[in-house]
Subunit: 329 residues, 3 copies
Amino acid sequence: MTLRAGDIVESLGGELFGDADRVIERLASLERATDTDLSYLVNPKLTHLLGSSQAGCVIVGTPMADAARSRGDCIVADNPHLYFAKVTQLWKRVHGDMPRPGIHPSAVVEDGAVIDSSASIGALCFVGRNVRIGADTVLHPRVTVGDGCVIGARCVIQSGAVIGGDGFGFAPHDGMWEKIEQLGAVRLGDDVEIGANTCVDRGALDDTVIEDGVKLDNQIQIGHNCHIGKHTAMAGCVGIAGSAHIGAYCTVGGAGMIAGHLTIADHVHVTAASVVLHSIDKPGQYTGFFPTTDHRTWEKNAATLRHLHALRDRVKRLERLLPRNDDVA
Amino acid sequence: MTLRAGDIVESLGGELFGDADRVIERLASLERATDTDLSYLVNPKLTHLLGSSQAGCVIVGTPMADAARSRGDCIVADNPHLYFAKVTQLWKRVHGDMPRPGIHPSAVVEDGAVIDSSASIGALCFVGRNVRIGADTVLHPRVTVGDGCVIGARCVIQSGAVIGGDGFGFAPHDGMWEKIEQLGAVRLGDDVEIGANTCVDRGALDDTVIEDGVKLDNQIQIGHNCHIGKHTAMAGCVGIAGSAHIGAYCTVGGAGMIAGHLTIADHVHVTAASVVLHSIDKPGQYTGFFPTTDHRTWEKNAATLRHLHALRDRVKRLERLLPRNDDVA
Amino acid sequence: MTLRAGDIVESLGGELFGDADRVIERLASLERATDTDLSYLVNPKLTHLLGSSQAGCVIVGTPMADAARSRGDCIVADNPHLYFAKVTQLWKRVHGDMPRPGIHPSAVVEDGAVIDSSASIGALCFVGRNVRIGADTVLHPRVTVGDGCVIGARCVIQSGAVIGGDGFGFAPHDGMWEKIEQLGAVRLGDDVEIGANTCVDRGALDDTVIEDGVKLDNQIQIGHNCHIGKHTAMAGCVGIAGSAHIGAYCTVGGAGMIAGHLTIADHVHVTAASVVLHSIDKPGQYTGFFPTTDHRTWEKNAATLRHLHALRDRVKRLERLLPRNDDVA
């Protein structure tokens, strides 16, 4: 199926320079686009791709408008990345690929669940007792939402996600573990996305809370009683231990790990594969992982690392023998 | 729903100081509790919270009994953490939130499976051929138990868990991989908990074995032919490669990784995010991860780390020029 | 059930030395085998186990043929590991444990899906619109294959896997995230295995591609638009960020992480728990993780590591005071 260039700006705004009747058959990257494709340019560093691209039409920002117009048709938008996102949404809507409202007959919905009539509950989902699900929310197939959990409006829950499994709580006694029943639930705000096979555990006493606009990628684990501030985003394989309080507008790179009971300020960015063991009260980028090299180099460096403290002591001894000028002044 | 304070000690023991008819409306932490809530104090370092808490009644151990009584109603128990765990269980039972025995009509149970009549098989579960499931075990919705696996009594399997997927076994030939069919199964002891979306692979020839009382959090991967000793607990995102033999009473922190074919002694504690490549034969705490700092500091330290072995050689050279006193004696 | 030794060589080739009517009751490792078991020897370093093994018959390669014959019955094969793999397949086939062709009645298959009649779609699977699934492919129970995805022949998809969830794509605006609908799909070649609870995301515009013979273990995350070359294998808990291009014949150890938009050459081997942030253009082994030690040693080394760059500067100062011979020449 196709869209006319004119239909796009009619739906989404922006200024079209070129043929409103141009037929768009596909969305594509600048490198791969052909003359029936719509492409987009977000990163100014890639402006050089404009000249060589075969795209029939390109979405650009105002600063690139002249360059884009000199090569052919374009749509100029204030925020070309945002505009492109909205084009993908329009594309999906027009092509009828959006999940349909309603509850798939193979889904299991327990007593007391209140599901907005505009929400879509996919095949083979499980929705527990007294769950509430807001308007236009989509549960893809094979999602679990445990008893008493609340999901806001316009959320998207990918396949295999488990919202409201038990938190990991046990009382130790005589070397064994006695289960602490998890009596809280999970509350997701509006516009939250939860990735495939991601888990958000229910709280022990109070609820685990995911605020508006949070985006979680796949294979993430959110422990019980966490609080994730609004518009925070986390990439795949992240783990957040129980009772961590993560601020708003944060990002956590893939496989980043945050220990339990920490407080992370707003606007903190944790690099991929970094392990955060202490609270962070200042915005900024935080990093910690061993850089990868060829194996032989790693072996030598790792062997030295195992005795790094002793190496420091050896340097200290040398310094005592060769004092600084200001030390001996 | 509510419980009377007197009902609690009648069910669970402990000594009540205060009003047996006090109505408990909720369980809550000391900080959040109101005068209709029951709270608890486990950590002696938090004794100062007792004075300011609004809790109607507090569970404490004998050493804190006087402090607790001086502020109001309390229940004194030998092990207040264990007692609190049992209160959460009582609470859930009384409020009718326990999974019901029986097999949900949407579950698929294959021929030859033997499921105790007191067990609960949740919605949309798959139970393979010749599986055995013990008394009072609960499979939450959307769990897989593969053919021939055995699950003991009083186990809890959270949603999305896969017990008995194939182990990862292939014979290399000409750069390709030929599948080794995994002919073993998985055996879980009694009182085992398996977290949401956690996987325990079936053995190649013999079975993968999880002993009594083991607790596994979410998103964990247990490779084929592992043996996990009794009452060992692992936090989320842990990975245990194939044929590892983990002792009893161990703990593995979140995202800890243990290589295959290792033997880990009893009472070993692996810190979160640590990678264990060698067998460990002594109880204790073991750790290994790069400490996270602000990104700029990490960049500088990581750059040095890439040449750490050379730095050691430079220190060695300096030492040759400045011998130790006892070297030159 | 059992197999005769003669039946095995008749089916799979190899040369039997010993009794063709010997009844094999089980496959077992050399250490555990009894005289009714068939075992195998792959690693020449384990030749000493031959003498003490109670196995009724042993699969060996030509170089070990004499040693094996001197102890009893054996099957000599060019590649004993490959031969053993084929015996496990024969064993499973003969014992009727193979998944049956057809679509389980509890599976949900959407309009337009084309499933080869020899394929097996397990219980409670979801197969989206216009999906194509090739001959002899097996979807174990509780698998998701999203709309438009293509799966080749002889693939095995373990329980809980999600093929074709949305990639993690959002356009940032005003601190919030606007969803970029993921319009691509996933294409798996032939002979691909996908582990339990592993996720392969659909592409943003183009498809995510997994080539022939790729083997992915459990709990893996493959981001959108990745391209994984043929016969590459990855162990559990690996994460590959979006748009990474991984070569053929690579391996990634458990919990290895590869950043997005990288290119990794053929025949690259990433060690377990290593984080790859830069493209790799040379075959070889690459490693990077902090070696685990007892906790006290780690604490001291990690404390020094936080100031490693300063330590290097201190060594530099010492070197200025004690110049190299060739520096002062």
